[in-house]
């Protein structure tokens, strides 16, 4: 299988919610890979923690029938992204590979994009990121450390895409399906997170996205996300029965 296509790649993710166990391996892998600032206690308490991918937990029912549901949420890389047209300096735009790009050097910190994003996956740097001296050793040199006053978010590990694309090009071949993996999908032990090229009909994600459980988050906003979710399966649910859940 290859990602060969006249149209070029359209990178996307399929999240099988039925396999997500909420283990947070994706969250910490993303933090490490992308030099996300430390979320100190103060930042968590102020609601200003930065987490490019988060796992939301929702409760359903009461004891003893209570159920905890997990869903990983990251930038949905929408084809019709509400964050893009509102940026006055074109710091966020859609590229030809389906990625919602954030250009840090252009960003002037209006936060319009965060206001427009219904998924709440854009994060503003209210402070200069502080890394104790010795911890700077583990910073990833492929990823810029963002400064105070600009917006950041999931990039689908664009630096990994670029690295693997360059490597394939230098070897005179096309990218193979699965060759590019984001930090979160690499870490995910249950393979709930799957990354790949939707323009390749033979890719794993292309096959998965046609599963009868597929849906997109907040599709009433017509954002056309590049993240497809596969619904959680509950054997106790009767077909056609509505669910009731509370935000935990």
């Amino acid at each position: 299988m290859t990602t060969a296509s006249l149209k070029g790649p359209n990178w996307g993710m399929v999240v099988d919610v039925d396999k997500c166990i909420g283990c947070m391996a994706c969250v910490i892998a993303c933090q490490a890979e992308n030099n996300v600032p430390l979320n100190t206690q103060d930042r968590v308490e102020r609601g200003r923690a930065i987490s490019w991918i988060r796992v939301e937990r929702y409760w359903e029912g009461d004891f003893p029938d209570s159920k905890a549901r997990f869903i990983p949420i990251m930038c949905q890389h929408c084809a019709n992204a509400p964050c893009e047209p509102v940026c006055p300096v074109f710091a966020t735009y859609h590229n030809s590979e389906g990625l919602n790009i954030q250009v840090y050097n252009r960003c002037v910190g209006t936060r319009y994009c965060a206001n427009g994003c219904p998924y709440i996956v854009r994060f503003f740097n209210y402070w200069e990121p502080v890394w104790p001296e010795s911890l700077r050793n583990h910073l990833n040199p492929d990823v810029t450390v963002r400064s105070r006053g600009i917006m950041e978010k999931c990039t689908f590990c664009v630096h990994r895409i670029r690295r693997e694309s360059r490597k394939a090009r230098s070897e005179g071949r096309v990218l193979l399906d699965g060759e590019v993996q984001t930090a979160c999908s690499t870490a995910c032990p249950t393979s709930a997170l799957n990354f790949g090229n939707f323009n390749d009909p033979n890719s794993k994600v292309s096959k998965m996205k046609d599963d009868q459980r597929h849906y997109t988050l907040l599709d009433q906003f017509a954002t056309e996300p590049n993240v497809i979710y596969l619904a959680k399966v509950d054997t106790d649910r009767k077909v056609g029965a509505g669910e009731a859940a509370s935000h935990g």
Binding site: C23, A25, L38
Partner: protein, 764 residues
Amino acid sequence: MKLNRREFLTLTGKTTAGAVIFAACGLPERELIVQSPVDLPEDLVRGEDAWYATSMGDFTNGDGVLVRVMEGRAKKIEGNPDHPVNRGKSTARYDSVLQLLYHPDRISDPMRRFSKGGNLVDISWRQAEAQFQDALVNANGSLTVVTNPLRGHLGSVASKFAAKFNGRHMSFDPIEQGVLHGAVKSVLGQDQLPTFDIANASTVLSFGADWLGTWGSPAQFGVKYGEFRSQGNRGYLIHADPRMSLTAAAADLWLAPKPGTEGDLALGIASVIVKEGLASVANIAAFNAALPGGLSGYSVAEVAGKTEIPAARIEKAARHFAGNTPAVAFGGGSAGAHTNGSFNLGAIYSLNLLVGAVGARGGVTANPGSAFEDISASATGASFESWEAELAQWRAGNVETVIIRGVDIVYGMPNSVAVREALDNVPNVITFGAVLDDTMAFADLVLPELTFLETWGTDIPEPGPGYQVVGIQQPVVGPTVTQDETGLISNARGFGDMLLAMAGGSFGSSMERIVMDAVSELHDTGRGSVSASSSALFMNGVLQRGGWWDTGEKGAQGTAGRISTTTKSAGYSDTNALGTGEDFHLVPFVSNSLFDGRLAATPWAQQTPDPISSASWSTWAEINSQQAKELGIRQGDVLLIRSTSGEIEALAYPHPGIRPGVIGVPIGQGHAEGGRWAEGRGSNVLSILVDKKDSETGALAWAATRVRVQRAGRRVKVPKYEGEVEARAAEPGVPILVVGPGETAEQAEKANHHEYQGSLFKDD
């Protein structure tokens, strides 16, 4: 001139002198230094990364990892796709180890305390070696070497070292696995923990063990769980636990028994299976042979009374387990941490006999012994009973020298054993570690230790994948210089190498040599995953793949034995004299990110939200939301949790996923030492455990403590992520779309929409 980007933009916006300022700033010097290598390793290519395979000894049960190294610095830890245990996958704990490696409070040089209770003073390695040698001479046989349970050659070195000086090697594990090993041995006849073929099972029935979060080998089990859910029938998971863990949350059926009645529940399930004829005659006979006394007293009605789980739920679990085979049953964690722990786990593992799961596909299969004659494939901590006896010797002044590595016994042991007083009576306490811990506050000599990323070793995963595996640990980075390039971050040495040096090289010259010899031994077997014409090529192959394994060398099934019935009913601690408050059953649980506290020093582990509460940086107490309402307890109320061993504070976190009458508190916080991110943060729940023990093995019954809970009269904000992001449901009330078997997402969305419309109509 120091100017950040924001100030730069402001300035350039206000003045035409922007270009001049820019020219004066130049490139940020510190950023350049970060990537400035000093002693370039020979395989270093500037700008190119290298991925080294190694084994994650102290922080997993033997997972293989790849470490990304760039210009001498470790950047990322990922699962090794070649390794048969975790198959390229990770847990939330892998990357945090990088922050131990580069911890700003890492111990840089040896330190000595000249009198008990005095201050630690930096000394040279030469002085440290002299003091170490004196301590060995003075010990004259009264020496104890204390480590975490060590698999592989480091454990062997520690044992040989202790033996050479006529001492003892004792392992400590705050979350004891001795009951588990005992039950596996007595029921299944196996010396090593077996492999659970979750991926090929149609039904998994687990008790207590949070195998998707922290128990056993979570990365291995996570991969298998993904495969389990990918089957045509999707698999069916039943999990019994008083508190909703990650595994309970993933379960199709969650059972919340009264703590300590897990064995009753298992036998109640067995009685339904036998009564309804859901198992073959041969399997029932095998099961009966393992259970002295039979199932009398375990009818579903009686078990429903003991466990306080409705009979219908027990029957549902039994019918699924026996009716959808292959099926596998296993347990551990809190289910075995009771005075009747051996009975509980014995009953749980015996369910495998009833469905013919032993040695079967989709069942439980044996793991083989070690590939090395003198190295055990299994390691577990000494029992709490043994530790009580040992500490009594320390207190009596009968032990001259104690060497401690890999465990924080002051943090990990309950107040009841008075470990601090015991250490005060040992003349020479020598500790190894990367960052100061609570035990080091009582040490006479503190020695900086290299992490697993800097040292040689071997590891034998437990539980293994069903065949022989040896993980190889190699140094992936060299010494790291400080930012100002004036010295090393830590002038540390490896524990194994230090022991070998102090023993005069009598059983090995270095850990590197020992690993080389071990690999050579593997080469000589002529089998396994790496084949090469020479030892050198074989070594390269093994290092590149992160280890050696032989899929043909499987474990032999043992002879089924009997369930321990010494103590069938759980005993709990007393709360009568604990003052005012409400009585709860305390269920401590291992933190998903801090683990048992060994990662508390790292900010990534501290900041990672707990999957259930989403809390971080703190100690919280989970109680049933309905019960909390009745008691007037709200989220953030500071609770005083009191046992006969002591009292701690925790922030109330009510939720519907815990049994009423149970209070769940995470292990991992409450360190007196541990660097800037761990010190003085939260509470140590291990400290208030009472000294109840499993009647069979003497293991600490860490889930047998009853506590009295009282509000302190204060309320603070729980540092948590929940509520930070407003839930925006796909349809009102449906944040996560759920489908029934065979239902499409579209059908479910329509059904939800209709229900929502209906609810609006009703409101009118």
